[in-house]
């Protein structure tokens, strides 16, 4: 075998490795549950958009199918539909129909939500993840009324790899965007300092809280250069997480730290990634219930001693 073929073989083995049905089902529950709660928590956004004038409407994505804003009753019917579908998706009910319906519904909503002059990038990754899950057999385990789960198979493993690839790709694209738009000036501390200053000033002018660490970081400007390098390294280095093991763990801790730092200095928080939900496809999530049970047993044993 040629030296070039070997890495490709390894990638192919990784891509086509079997995984337990419970792992994919766990991701369905975590991602479906997150998106349903996110939509419910953002009900104000539906209220805000149920009476906007047509002049503000700049359709993008799926919303390009519309030539004017959705009437308020239809928007609220859509919200109710998304809630019902989101719960059914998470529980795995009638998944073959509900999976695609929920994913397309969320794609329609996120397109519409971004059609008012401001693209909301924090909604992209969960939309992509739902579209992948919708086409996968993600309700073959851990759903109501289900008997014994099937054995591990590539049809459960491959969609998980796609979810992980989508996660890594979105980080890499963000890193490439910084290099394309800013080039080496990204490493100039003034570049990140103006982003931090801009975000803090914006929050103040719109009546929001100021980022707790913005002033500290700007007053200690020696911190900013290493922060800029770390941000770019984390984004461009996302593919190392696909390797698994320690490399993945180090990258995930760094990525969560990056999101926490962005929240503390700029009050910009991509909840789906920052809370770790978007990073779950990198892990064997089916082990979580067992780990929790064993943790609980140990706690009970410690208490009874």
């Amino acid at each position: 075998m040629s030296g070039r073929a070997q890495p490709l073989m390894r990638v192919d083995e990784w891509l086509q490795a079997p995984a337990p049905a419970e792992r994919l089902a766990g991701l369905r529950i975590a991602i479906g549950g997150f998106v349903t709660l996110y939509l419910a928590a953002n009900v104000r956004e539906f209220a805000r958009l149920d009476n906007r004038p047509v002049v503000e409407f700049e359709p993008i994505g799926f919303a390009r199918l519309l030539d004017q804003p959705i009437p308020a009753p239809a928007l609220w019917i859509g919200f109710a539909g998304l809630m019902v579908l989101g719960i059914a998706f998470t529980l795995g009910v009638a998944y073959r129909a509900v999976g695609p319906a929920f994913a397309l519904g969320v794609l329609a909503w996120t397109s519409y939500h971004s059609s008012w002059g401001q693209l909301l990038h924090f909604e992209h990754l969960f939309t992509l993840h739902l579209l992948i899950l919708a086409l996968a057999p993600a309700a073959d385990a851990w759903r109501i009324g289900q008997s014994a789960p099937p054995s591990a198979d590539v049809r459960y493993g491959w969609p998980i790899r796609l979810l992980a690839l989508a996660t890594a790709a979105t980080y890499v694209l963000s890193g490439i965007a910084k290099l394309r738009h800013t080039g080496f000036a990204w490493f100039d501390p003034d570049t990140l300092a103006t982003h931090i200053g801009y975000s803090a000033t914006r929050m103040e002018t719109i009546g929001g809280p100021t980022p707790p660490l913005a002033e500290v970081v700007l007053d200690n400007s020696w911190l900013i250069g290493p922060m800029a390098i770390a941000a770019l390294a984390i984004e461009l280095g996302a593919p190392v997480a696909l390797v698994g093991g320690r490399a993945r763990n180090v990258w995930v801790v760094a990525a969560l730290g990056f999101h926490a730092a962005t929240a503390a200095t700029m009050l910009v928080f991509f909840g789906y990634r920052g809370l770790g939900i978007g990073l779950l496809p990198l892990f064997a999530v089916e082990r979580v219930p067992d780990r929790l049970r064993s943790f609980s047993r140990r706690r009970r044993a410690a208490w009874s001693r």
Partner: protein, 140 residues
């Protein structure tokens, strides 16, 4: 089936990368340009304030100002209303929300633009470069 999976995987990665080369930023395929471009040190902001009987400023929440909790949406909304020549409509909408909220001490709403050195502002230093009144309206 193995080949189909390979082809679909490559197609998905190609689709995700497409905004870099062709279609630009969109939903859900994006070039993720946020916070990627350098910003100017001095930036103009739209500022909406509540004023009491003595003309003193009363802090307004993001929800009262822009009917949202999201700072990106709020900022974009304010900029677009001013750029679109709808400052008076914006002012009346804020006044209506204040009235509905029961924040009785606010009797007027003032909309203005302010230019700040953003780094100085965030450091708590004197940052104002310019300030221009845009419009005012009464609450109630």
């Amino acid at each position: 089936m193995r080949t189909v999976r390979r082809v679909v995987t490559v197609a998905m990665l190609a689709a995700l990368s497409l905004p870099l080369f062709a279609v630009g930023d969109g939903v859900p395929l994006s070039s993720y340009p946020m916070y990627a471009s350098p910003r100017a040190e001095v930036v103009e902001f739209v500022v909406v304030s509540g004023l009491d009987q003595r003309d003193e400023a009363v802090a307004l929440s993001t929800v009262l100002i822009a009917d949202t909790n999201d700072p990106l949406v709020a900022e974009s909304y304010l900029r677009r209303e001013i750029a679109g020549g709808r400052a008076d409509t914006l002012c009346r909408e804020v006044a209506r929300r204040i009235e509905l909220s029961g924040l009785d001490e606010v009797v007027r709403v003032a909309v203005r633009t302010e230019e700040h050195s953003v780094v100085d502002r965030a450091r708590g230093l004197d940052s104002m470069i310019a300030s221009d009144a845009v419009t005012e309206c009464a609450v109630g």
